[in-house]
Amino acid sequence: MSMQGPLATSRSATGIPTGRLGVWWLLASEIFIFGGLIACYILYRLNNPWWGGEAVFTKVPAGAFNTFVLLTSSLFIVLAHDAAEKKDFDRAFKFIWYTIGGGGVFLLVKYYEYSSKLFADDPELLKTPLTNTYWSFYYTATGLHALHVIGGMVIMALISFDLRKGFNPHRVELIGLYWHFVDIVWIFLFPLLYIAK
């Protein structure tokens, strides 16, 4: 098997390595996925002022803490990228796993939020995707985002072991771009779903 690595590592027909250009295209398509969802949410929210009465059931401290966690994990992955560039692969490996840990904390908080709504004993606090359109949006948007977090964590774990051996260090930047985008999506979901009452 060749140790040269994939073509995307070195080829650059556009001034940007092909692998990185591919990630930018992926992110452009993700703008439509999350952007379409958020645009629909905003339209319905403008038309349904009573949704503010539902938003009070979201937990602002939990959402704020998760924003802090994702911003911090974004710092970790960019530090991993920095270390990979300097060929300090052990340090890059460490920061990648810090980032994965951040994703894990985010999901734990999400689990706490979901379970407190889906399995609430008090009927007033019981909120499922079928409760009304607001909660359909809430679970669709946060659920899709959580799936992206899980996907990012799995990819980071997969590339981390190759990285420690010095293989394909450019992949740290590629997964970093994706992770920052996931962070940006949460930056918008937090005020939309938690803060705007």
Binding site: G36, V60, L75, I195
Partner: protein
């Protein structure tokens, strides 16, 4: 890497993002609508800029990547305004808009409708 360039101080950017996060939480607590819009959503845009420009290195990336992302966002705007007129329309010939005349079952949970059909 987005070409050879000096790396920004990532920790400083992170601290700035955390300060902005605090402002975006505290601002809406004051209950002033325009301040809520400014601090919650305005600051979300500022945070996005800092993450994209410095963590994603867009400031050091080829300019056409900006255009790639901006075109996606503009097309999203076309979608938004294209369907807005339909969603925001409050009357029709062959359907009843329960939002406009305040008869939606979901509205009844939070508001009392007075004799004029207005929310109280």
């Amino acid at each position: 890497m987005a070409g050879a360039h000096a790396h920004p101080n990532y920790v400083k950017i992170w601290v700035l993002l955390l300060v902005l996060l605090v402002v975006s939480i505290v601002g809406p607590e004051l209950g002033i609508p325009w301040l809520t819009l400014l601090t919650a959503f305005g600051i979300a845009l500022v945070k996005t800029y800092y993450v994209a420009a410095y963590f994603m290195h867009l400031n050091f990336e080829k300019k056409y990547v900006w255009f790639l992302l901006l075109i996606s966002t503009v097309l999203l705007g076309v979608f938004f305004f294209g369907v807005a007129s339909d969603i925001m329309k409050t009357d029709g010939q062959n359907w009843q808009d329960c939002i406009a005349n305040n008869t939606c079952a979901e509205q009844q949970r939070y508001f009392v409708i007075d004799g004029d059909g207005q929310l109280r």
